[in-house]
Each structure stands twice: as structure tokens, then as C-alpha cells.
């Protein structure tokens, strides 16, 4: 559901950068989204096509690059990549303890770059 307001924010940022860079047409936009977030590619594109009509970003393709969840063990410093369904089910691959982790990545939510002419 929040895809609509998220798409509005994406479009605002894209149009701002398009203005600054005197862009005639935006071709593609690359988003970096952590695995912990829910963002449906198909819906984002659908909303974007609708919202960007009559702007320089009309017709631009949204590319989503997912960033995996990476945890760091606070006890031994080992980092490890896990999938969502593995949360809570894995011990540290370094010291074998299950206890104390920090999230290193997986919460990213930003626009990396855009291609334009």
C-alpha cells in the first residue's frame, strides 16, 4: 500500500536531479533496497508510469537492486549473510553462539543513480 507514497517520493527526487542536470529524458532509475524492506517492483513501476506522465521521467524503467541481510556477531566480529526465513535459526558461523548480532546491511532504501539524456 505504501508503494504509492514511496513512488511519489522517488519521482520528486528524480525530477529534482533531472532539473539540476538539465535532463531531457530519464531512461532508467536504480534503487537500492535492503532485503528487510518490502517493495514490490511491479507495483512501483505501475505507480511510477502513472505519476510520471507528462514529466521528463515518463517511460523510465525502475531497476531495483536488493541488498542482502548481513549480520555481524558482536562477540567474535564475524559477519554473515542470511535470508529472511533464516532469521533466528542461525548461529554465528564464527563462534557458534546464537546471541548478539548487529545489522550491517539489509535496511537500505535509497536511489543510487539514474540514466538520462
Amino acid at each position: 500500500m505504501h508503494e504509492l507514497s514511496v513512488t511519489e517520493k522517488i519521482l520528486d527526487i528524480v525530477l529534482k536531479h533531472a532539473r539540476v542536470n538539465h535532463v531531457r529524458k530519464v531512461i532508467s532509475i536504480t534503487l537500492i533496497i535492503g532485503e528487510m524492506s518490502d517493495l514490490e517492483n511491479e507495483w512501483i513501476q505501475h505507480y511510477f508510469d502513472y505519476l510520471s506522465k507528462d514529466t521528463v521521467a515518463a517511460g523510465a524503467v525502475l531497476k531495483i537492486e536488493k541488498v542482502p541481510i548481513v549480520l555481524k556477531c558482536n562477540l567474535c566480529g564475524q559477519t554473515m549473510e542470511i535470508r529472511r526465513e533464516e532469521i533466528g535459526g542461525t548461529c554465528c558461523s564464527g563462534c557458534g553462539k546464537a546471541g548478539d548480532f548487529s545489522i550491517i546491511s539489509g535496511r537500505e532504501y535509497y536511489i543510487k543513480e539514474m540514466e538520462a539524456e
Binding site: 517520493k9 527526487i13 542536470n21 534503487l31 541481510i69 532469521i87 533466528g88 539524456e117
Partner: protein, 224 residues
């Protein structure tokens, strides 16, 4: 001939909301108003928990509630019956509150005298997790019937809250909810979270939660 160029953007999608939320947090810090953002699925017990919490902390704080139910005034009426001022924000079908909506809700509240304000966010574990409301503390409820697998499905929400209330523990004997496994899942993505096991029906565990909250608010209010 026009050529294609690559423009580096590197900007957070939520940057405008994050900025508005940080401004609000600074303002409320100056005004000595502790804002709590309460999130949960529909039916997890947000309103019940608020009623219990308001009753327990009424002697200690001047409180108010911002209600963000999608399109009803039922919750606001229940809160109003406690004598604590409440304001109903109609989110018009939106699935979350953002900082600008919270600022609007606060206009109807006398923040000069209120020192503890609760946001009852829209019932949903996905969208509210992405939007910083400007609250000093994010908390959530997960009720036993929802199941112990929810941290796997909604990791972002579980990873960003300072406190988690596991509600409806009176239903544990009738459920296959595995509390140990559940906590293991939560702690792995949020080592610092405080977990309270409560029942808003029986009142079990409520005092542990309200005493902890009271201490957190007092620490905030005493900060120079």
C-alpha cells in the same frame, strides 16, 4: 545527437520525511514532550494496551493520544472515555502515518502541558515501519494468535522498535506459539529490544511495562 549520461543520485527515498521527523523530534525534545509511536497489526490490542497504559500512568503524566485509524472514530471514543485528550487523524485510506501527519495531529494537542503523547499508528506491520514519525520511541505489539513466525515476515518492524509487547499471553495454553523461538528470532535482528509478555485482558505483565515506560519518560524529562 543526445548522449546518455549516468547521474549519481545517492539520496534516501525517505529523505524529506526523515528530515521532517528529525525536526519534530528536536522540537518535542525542547518542549519536553515524549512521543511514543505504537505499531501493530489490526486486532493485536493497540487500543486495549493504550487503555491499560493510560490508566496506570494517569497519576504521573499529562497524556494525550493521536489516533490514526483509517476511517472510524470508535477507538477515539474509547480513549476519550478515559478523560485523556485524543485527536482523530483520518488517514484517508493511507496505510501509515508520516511525520507531517503527526505534526498536524499535534496541532490539536497542547504540547506545552502534555508530556507523554501516544500515536496509535495504522494497523499494519509493513508500511509504518518505513516512515519515521518523529517519535522518541517506537514500540510494537505482537499478539500470540498472530504466530511466532512474524519476525521472519516483517523483519524491518521488529528491527526498529525499542520495546515489543507480546499480548494475549492468556491464550498461550491454546496455541502452538513458541515463545523461546520467537524471542530468538527477534533478538537476532534487534539485540537491544525490551520484550514484555502481557495480557491486556487479565492485566498480567502490564505493570512491568508501564514501570519501564515511566522510567524512560522520566529520564527524557529530566534531561537538561
Amino acid at each position: 545527437m543526445s548522449s546518455v549520461k549516468l547521474i549519481e543520485v545517492k539520496e534516501a527515498i525517505m529523505s524529506d520525511n526523515d528530515a521532517a521527523a528529525n525536526d519534530l523530534r528536536k522540537r518535542l525534545s525542547r518542549e519536553k514532550t515524549f512521543l511514543v509511536n505504537l505499531m501493530a497489526s489490526p486486532g493485536a490490542g493497540k487500543t486495549s494496551l493504550l487503555l491499560r497504559t493510560l490508566a496506570a500512568l494517569k497519576p504521573d503524566f499529562n497524556m494525550a493520544v493521536i489516533e490514526a485509524d483509517i476511517d472510524s472514530v470508535v477507538d477515539a471514543e474509547k480513549i476519550a472515555a478515559t478523560g485523556v485528550p485524543s485527536v482523530q487523524l483520518r488517514t484517508g485510506g493511507f496505510c501509515h502515518l508520516d511525520a507531517a501527519m503527526v505534526v498536524k495531529g499535534l496541532e490539536a494537542i497542547d504540547t506545552a502541558s502534555a508530556n507523554l503523547v501516544f500515536i496509535e499508528n495504522v494497523g499494519n506491520l509493513v508500511c509504518p515501519a518505513e516512515f519515521d514519525t518523529g517519535a522518541a520511541m517506537d514500540i510494537m505489539i505482537l499478539s500470540v494468535p498472530e504466530g511466532d513466525d512474524k519476525p521472519l515476515k516483517y523483519p524491518l518492524m521488529f528491527s526498529k522498535c525499542r520495546a515489543l509487547l507480546v499480548n494475549k499471553i492468556d491464550l498461550l495454553p491454546y496455541s502452538d506459539f513458541d515463545m523461546i523461538l520467537f524471542k530468538q528470532r527477534v533478538y537476532q535482528i534487534n539485540a537491544g529490544i525490551r520484550i514484555f509478555e502481557v495480557s491486556c485482558t487479565s492485566g498480567e505483565g502490564i505493570t512491568d511495562w508501564t514501570e519501564w515506560l515511566k522510567q524512560s519518560v522520566n529520564r527524557f524529562l529530566e534531561k537538561p
